[in-house]
């Protein structure tokens, strides 16, 4: 009887010991994982900070040079008619930032109260751009990228959308902000009929508003290495 009790107690102690050590082990792994995670986040945060600093510095420089240019142009006797013409062309080729009346279209395809089967893809974006052009848009941008004539909207791998070769977001985890300058009524009307309905049907949250918008300049470069002006 006594022996049996000792036997049971031994087994119980063994199990207890095993479980205790298991728990200690687990706790160790958790600590290690947390440490690794913290280090990784730290590294990413560091890279992000330096990139952000760089970005701020570059933006400031950009503003400074642009304002200097404008001042010199105003003072430097450029024929005002020519200057105005040049401005019109630069609005069209997208190389200067522009502002004006237009529309803002915000599409959300993920989040707590949004369920979609297929998130926004490149075809959707191409279709929206096309509809805006059809409605007479004078300038278009998507998530900070100015859409010009030679802009392409393509996938890199199977999850990242590139516009002007710049990643604008991950499929299914991005809010798309599309800005366009032009006749607000026409653009609002065309977008509502041709795009918004389809997007909403697909379960996305869509906000379309008429407002005064400001669009960034096209930061890519135009190059003509093969084609040249037809010589007459």
């Amino acid at each position: 009887m006594n022996r049996r009790l000792v036997g049971a107690a031994t087994i119980a102690a063994l199990i207890l010991g095993f479980l205790l050590s298991l728990q200690v082990q687990t706790q160790k792994s958790v600590d290690l994982a947390e440490q690794i995670q913290a280090e990784r986040l730290d590294q990413i945060a560091g890279v992000l900070r330096s990139l952000q600093d760089e970005n701020a510095r570059l933006s400031e420089e950009n503003h400074y040079v642009a304002s200097e240019l404008e001042r010199l142009r105003g003072a430097g006797g450029m024929n005002p008619l020519l200057a105005a013409q040049l401005e019109q062309l630069k609005i069209q080729d997208g190389t200067i930032p522009v502002q004006g009346l237009g529309v803002k279209l915000v599409i959300t395809d993920s989040g707590p109260d949004v369920t979609v089967l297929y998130p926004v893809n490149t075809d959707d974006l191409c279709s929206i751009i096309n509809t805006l052009r059809f409605a007479g848009a004078e300038a278009i941008s998507i998530n900070g990228q100015r859409v010009v004539g030679s802009s392409s909207v393509v996938m890199s791998g199977n999850a990242t959308i590139l516009i002007n070769s710049v990643p604008i977001g991950r499929v299914g985890a991005t809010t798309y902000e599309i800005l366009a300058i032009g006749d607000p009524d026409t653009m609002h009307d065309y977008l509502s009929r041709l795009e918004v309905f389809t997007l909403k049907q697909a379960g996305m949250r869509v906000d379309l508003t008429k407002e005064e918008v400001t669009l960034p300049s096209y930061k890519g470069s135009y190059y003509f290495d093969y084609a040249s002006r037809t010589s007459t």
Binding site: N55, R71, M78, L82, E87, V154, S165, V166
Partner: protein, 224 residues
């Protein structure tokens, strides 16, 4: 006692798992953001360089009008308002000759095909594109309204001839990578036709018409 410990251990394991997956997630969402910022910085640096260049030119050259003329020239090229000549490729698409009554939509060339091709050609480094002698610019719509496709406000009907100027092998590679095979499948299945010509002679695309801008205005930089 043992039960409590066991449950505790189990919880720990679960916590560990969720922790690890959380790590993976932050790593994934963080990376594209970083990439985006990096490319943006690159673009900004390039833009700054361009502006500095312009500024130096303006400072050295008292004759502002001469510089303006040069810039006008460049801007016209960028905006597609000049006829261009150079090496390139030509794509010809046409509806199927015979159609079956069912599935009519499969037997014609759709606006999406043209848009997709144009998109692919731009990403392949095209320098100028025209469809049926309509220059494709930042204001060009390729819009189907029933029986015809409208491009630059002009009705077009098949065959559609797309001319793209640029590096011929790059353009062909881009096509083959993205959309050409898909069109080949439609050709086999439904009898639409797709042709690709890579002529040795230079091709020409016409100039786009200049358009009045009514709503957009330059953002005025205010010296701060």
């Amino acid at each position: 006692m043992a039960g409590v410990l066991f449950v505790a251990a189990l919880l720990m394991v679960m916590l560990l798992k969720s922790n690890l997956s959380a790590t993976a997630e932050t790593g994934q969402t963080g990376l594209p953001g970083l990439l985006q910022l990096e490319v943006e910085n690159e673009q900004l640096a390039k833009d700054n360089e361009r502006l500095w260049q312009e500024l130096t030119q303006l400072q050295n050259n008292q004759n502002g009008s001469e510089l303006a003329a040069e810039q006008m020239d460049a801007a016209r090229l960028n905006a597609g308002q000049a006829e261009m000549t150079g090496p390139g490729i030509r794509i010809i698409l046409d509806d199927a000759a015979e159609r079956e009554n069912t599935g009519y939509g499969n037997y014609v060339i759709h606006e999406e095909y043209l848009r997709q091709l144009v998109n692919v050609l731009w990403s392949g480094g095209a320098e100028a594109i025209a469809i049926n002698d309509q220059r494709v610019t930042g204001q060009t719509e390729i819009f189907c309204s029933g029986a015809f496709i409208q491009i630059n406000g002009v009705r077009q009907s098949p065959p559609y001839r797309i001319v793209a100027l640029g590096n011929q092998s790059d353009l062909r590679a881009a096509l083959q990578f993205y959309f050409w095979d898909q069109l080949g499948y439609y050709q086999q299945q439904y009898g639409i036709t797709r042709e690709l010509e890579i002529p040795t002679q230079p091709l020409t695309v016409p100039a786009a018409k200049s358009r009045a801008i009514r709503f957009a205005a330059p953002v005025r930089e205010t010296a701060s």
